[in-house]
């Protein structure tokens, strides 16, 4: 300890203090501040760039999700439209079919009705003609027959019998 105190040099202490403090002050101004600032600037730059990249990525993902969503929607819409069209088509076909069927059955019914009417008319016509013919024949027969009184009565009687049978 005594040796230490003996060896202690005030001059060296003084110079060390002065030179070192001077060095700290000079380096602070000319070296440490610019270096640390530059490093910090660089670090914050890197951080910002990373953040921007991250943001861009997130945005991209959002866009992609949006696209996907739009695509899905479009597909669904198309699907719906197609389905609608198909339905309409089916319905139209169905409608047409029933309409045609109705028309056809109506036509058939009309035809049947007109045939019936024709038949009835023809039968009526035939009846009237047969009646006329019969009257004519009967007239002639009657004319012939009526020349004979007995025969006349017989005929009337048979005719009447026939008529009720008819």
């Amino acid at each position: 300890m005594e040796k230490l105190i003996n060896e202690f040099s005030i001059g060296l202490f003084f110079w060390q203090l002065v030179l070192f403090i001077g060095l700290v002050i000079l380096l602070r101004k000319f070296a440490w501040k610019p270096i640390l600032d530059a490093v910090e600037k660089r670090e914050s730059g890197i951080e910002n760039a990373l953040k921007a990249a991250e943001n861009a990525k997130a945005e991209m993902e959002n866009l992609q999700a949006d696209n996907q969503k739009l695509l899905k929607e479009a597909r669904a819409e198309r699907e719906a439209m197609l389905k609608e069209a198909r339905d309409i088509k089916n319905k139209m076909i169905e409608d047409a079919k029933t309409e045609a069927q109705e028309e056809a059955s109506k036509l058939v019914a009309q035809a049947q009705a007109s045939i019936e009417a024709e038949r009835k008319a023809a039968i009526a016509d035939l009846k009237s003609q047969v009646a006329n013919l019969s009257i004519d024949i009967a007239e002639k027969v009657v004319k012939d027959e009526l020349s004979n009184k007995g025969k006349q009565e017989k005929l009337v009687e048979s005719l009447l019998g026939d008529a009720t049978l008819n």
């Binding site: 202690f8 040099s9 005030i10 001059g11 060095l23 610019p34 270096i35 640390l36 490093v39």
Partner: protein, 359 residues
Amino acid sequence: MQKLHSLKTACLLLIFVTSFSFAKESKEGHSESGDIKQEIKDYIDHHLLDSHDFSLTSYTTDTGEHKYVGFPLPVILWDDGLKVFSSSKLHHGESVAEVNGNYYKSFHGKIYKTDASGEITLDDHHHPTNIKPLDFSITKNVFTIFLVALLMFFMFSRMAKKYKKGALPKGIGRFLEPIILYIRDDIAIPNIGLKKYKRYMPYLLTVFFFIWIINLLGLTPLGVNVTNNIAVTLALALITYFLTTFTANKNYWGHIFWMPGVPWPMKIILAPIELLGTIIKPFSLMIRLYANITAGHIVLMSIIGLMFIFKNWIGSSLSFGLAFALSLLELLVAALQAYIFTMLSALYFGAAVEEHHDH
């Protein structure tokens, strides 16, 4: 990879040359084996001391005259006014320097005022009783400190300028930037905290690189040895102490004088202990750096000195190998001591600015 390899080779070569240079220093002079231990001891003592001139090596001519290889440095004394003269006048303590009618002589690295004949009177403890004027000389150590300061200033200001051109470090900055970032991210921020670390950064960075470079310089053949001077480590520790004391907040002083959370008689007992602690902390910084570097140099030089005591090829080469290994260890110690000093300084600053939190 190639660069790293050549750097390694250069480092090894440097250590080798260092050892060799010390060896050469020790070899010169006496050759009597009885004196050689004393001579080695003297050499080590001399190496650990500061000197008024920058001598790289010395040798003795055939006529017995000591020759020194180096250059003189200015001597600045305060003795009834400023006295400035070249250290070549002192002739390594062999002659008396005369300045304006005052006579000075160097004795074991210290300058004393003497009479014209250069008489140094010693007391019982072999201490000179002559007047010792205040010595502000640019000694070898001061010169080295100045050199390191200059080197650091140019190195780091150049590095700072490179950042103006681009965000990436260039040249030496590629090597230094990771170290600067390490000090910021692993020493300053964890110990001091994100809020206040910035104002301590200039000091922490400067003290780290200063101690590291000057320790490394101590391992070169230049034979300079700055951090084994208690004056140097005291100056550094004092700056840490004053920075801690003057930037401390209320919370720090509260913990020293009136420790919260303990019963009041304990508070009274703790206050002087804590107060002493504030001084012991920088004191330990001072002693740790001083003792580590001094011990390293003494052991290294002693082992190198062993080579000349053994004087046979087995013992000498063994001690050479040991010295080589120890030099590598000293390289580590050089960085480690710088790291420890910086780390502990940051720790003390951190305690000084710590915000109050509940216990």
